[in-house]
Amino acid sequence: MTAGIAALLYGVMGYLNGSSFVTIPVIVGSLLLISMVVIWFRDIIHESESGLYNKQVDATYRWGMSWFIFSEVMFFAAFFGALYYARMISVPWLGGENVLTNEYLWKGFEGGWPTNGPSDLGGEFSTISAWGIPFLNTCLLVASGVTFEIAHHALKEEKRAKCIAAMVATIALGAVFMYYQMHEYAEAYGHLNLTLGSGVYGSTFFMLTGFHGMHVTLGVIMLTVMTIRIALGHFTKDQHFGFEAVGWYWHFVDVVWIGLFIFVYVA
């Protein structure tokens, strides 16, 4: 697994440095990584299905998952912090709020948000309105949270068909979300001239939504695995932490999005 990551990273590093020996390590690394993850999870699934898990192990997974999600929260916190800092501190400062930076270095720069900075990096751009697709996306994700809970209850009541249906709905909602998100990106790059290079607005916008998008993708994959497992008859009505863990993750992704919606799109 580590070897896989190493090979993958080696390739990416090569890519960033403009080296040509890139493709092979990236492919080999990714394959290695994926197969190791699969094997690892297969083992765990196998163990859980063989009824090897007692209360303590269950609690271990609960704690483990909670702390993992906490670490993810802190990861996003770094980017939200960057957004806060840029909006509340660096841009006003450049706009002359403290010391007359805009008199001596950036003549006439006034700050304000959104901005691509005093050098007008990347040129004029427009932003995405919160009340179009982003709002729709918010609804989609919230709805998917609800459908997930429906699936959870169904599982507890041992109504497998209903559970699967609700899971499929959840996945579908997630997938539509992703589709819209891609569409937004295409729009931003294609028509609005809003890119990663659009100063600090573009940077924070794509960094936050991008990492969130990656988490949604991962979430959808995990939801799919869970659905398959339910279809295979895994989990019992009171032993299904794997399922719940994915649920926690999914709700976490949901909450991050609401934060994003408020601070990136609306405010």
Binding site: W93, L94, V99, L100, T101, Y104, L105, W106, P118
Partner: protein, 399 residues
């Protein structure tokens, strides 16, 4: 090597025994003396607390040994003492915090200044612009020290006056005036640090920071760049020369050719006689390095090999941090010079860019015409580039 070590061992001991400075300087401003006072206060408190704590500890280390027949006591808890040794340090801290806050607030108040100097940090020199009088120059490590500090130069650095703490152009300031500095940087972070003034502030590219000082006594005060800024971070000293007001006025007059503002550039040539002096007029904030270098004023034709050899050296010293030894740079931040349109095009454009810089590329106007010609020739004839030779005279023509 061995000889050098022993020589300096011998050479240093007597000399430095006099000069050895153990403590913080008291400095030459009201603020610096306050800071010194704070330093001594807190240091004193720490020493007293230390003597108490360590005294008790070592007493028990020596007295309560098993080998001395000590029997362990039984106590292991006491709310009372816990509270005492929480509260007492807290009170001591408040005693430190109050005067410290007072000084800090004063230090950060740069209002009502009598004059303003804008300071810009470059890799690896300082630029000074006197916004009121229009004096403007660059200040870099003194040439002798610069030669001696090259790795393996074998020079006896102890024999050089103020090794690493001398510059070609000093910042001359009047005493008794509140001087405001506007601090910024051109490329990376630097920090302007002069201990005797108790001033240290980071120079941040793209931002302006304010600091101030009011010097009491005439004198020469030395400092250094105090924020890691790359290869030659250790080699960008700061020297402040504080003069009485009248001498300061004379200095300004000599820099500006008599008048205080808006003097035609050609008048300054006489005033700047020292070979390394680079003084330029700037009534606005445009950094434009102008060189009044006698040696370069009638440059000789040079052979290509000579230029290439000098160029390679100058390239490695000045350019390769960004453009790399291979000339390939680090795109997109630092463009490749291999096959670059600028390098392949008219020499004039490239000369201008090297002298004046462009965006993230710093100006190199402080280099001599020969060096600039050499480095340009080098870039034009390396890594598969082939676009001709540039002579010092071409560079001089572009200044």
């Amino acid at each position: 090597m061995k000889r050098a070590v022993s020589a300096s061992l011998l050479g240093l001991l007597p000399g430095s025994a006099l000069a050895l400075q153990w403590n913080l300087t008291e400095g030459v401003t009201e603020i610096s003396r306050e800071v010194y006072g704070l330093h001594m206060l807190i240091f004193g408190l720490c020493v007293v607390i230390g003597i108490g704590v360590f005294g008790v500890m070592f007493y028990s280390v020596f007295m309560h040994r098993k080998s001395k027949g000590a029997k362990p006591a039984n106590f292991h808890e006491s709310m009372t003492v816990e509270v005492i040794w929480t509260v007492i340090p807290f009170v001591i801290l408040i005693g430190m915090a109050i005067p410290a806050a007072g000084t800090l607030i004063k230090m950060e108040d740069a209002s009502d200044a009598d004059m303003t100097v804008k300071i810009t940090g470059y890799q690896w020199m300082w630029e000074y612009e006197y916004l009121d009088s229009g004096v403007h120059f660059y200040s870099r490590l003194d040439a002798e020290a610069d030669r001696a500090r090259q790795t393996g130069s074998g020079a006896d650095v102890a024999a050089i006056d103020n090794y690493l703490l001398e510059v070609d152009n000093r910042v001359v300031l009047p005493v008794g005036k509140k001087i405001r500095f506007l601090l910024t940087a051109h490329d990376v972070l630097h920090a302007w640090y002069v201990p005797d003034l108790a001033v240290k502030k980071d120079a941040v590219p793209g931002f302006v920071r304010e600091i101030w000082t009011k010097i009491d006594e005439p004198g020469i005060y030395r400092g250094q760049c105090a924020e890691l800024c790359g290869r030659d971070h250790g080699f960008m000293p700061i020297v402040v020369e504080a003069l009485p007001q009248d001498e300061y006025d004379q200095w300004v007059a000599s820099q500006t050719g008599g008048a205080t503002t808006d003097v035609p550039a050609d008048m300054e040539a006489e005033a700047t006689d020292a070979a390394e002096q680079q003084v330029a007029m700037a009534s606005d904030a445009e950094p434009e390095a102008e060189q009044a270098d006698a040696a370069d004023s009638a440059p000789a034709e040079m052979g290509k090999d000579e230029l290439m050899a000098a160029g390679e050296k100058a390239y490695k010293t000045n350019c390769s941090v960004c453009h790399k030894d291979t000339g390939q740079g680090m795109p997109p931040a630092f463009p490749s010079l291999v096959g670059s349109a600028v390098v392949g095009g008219e020499p004039a454009a490239q000369i201008q860019q090297v002298i004046n810089g462009k965006n993230a590329m710093p100006p190199f106007g402080h280099l001599s015409d020969t060096d600039i010609a050499a480095v340009i020739t080098y870039t034009r004839n390396s890594w598969g580039n082939d676009s001709g030779v540039v002579q010092p005279a071409d560079v001089a023509a572009q200044r």
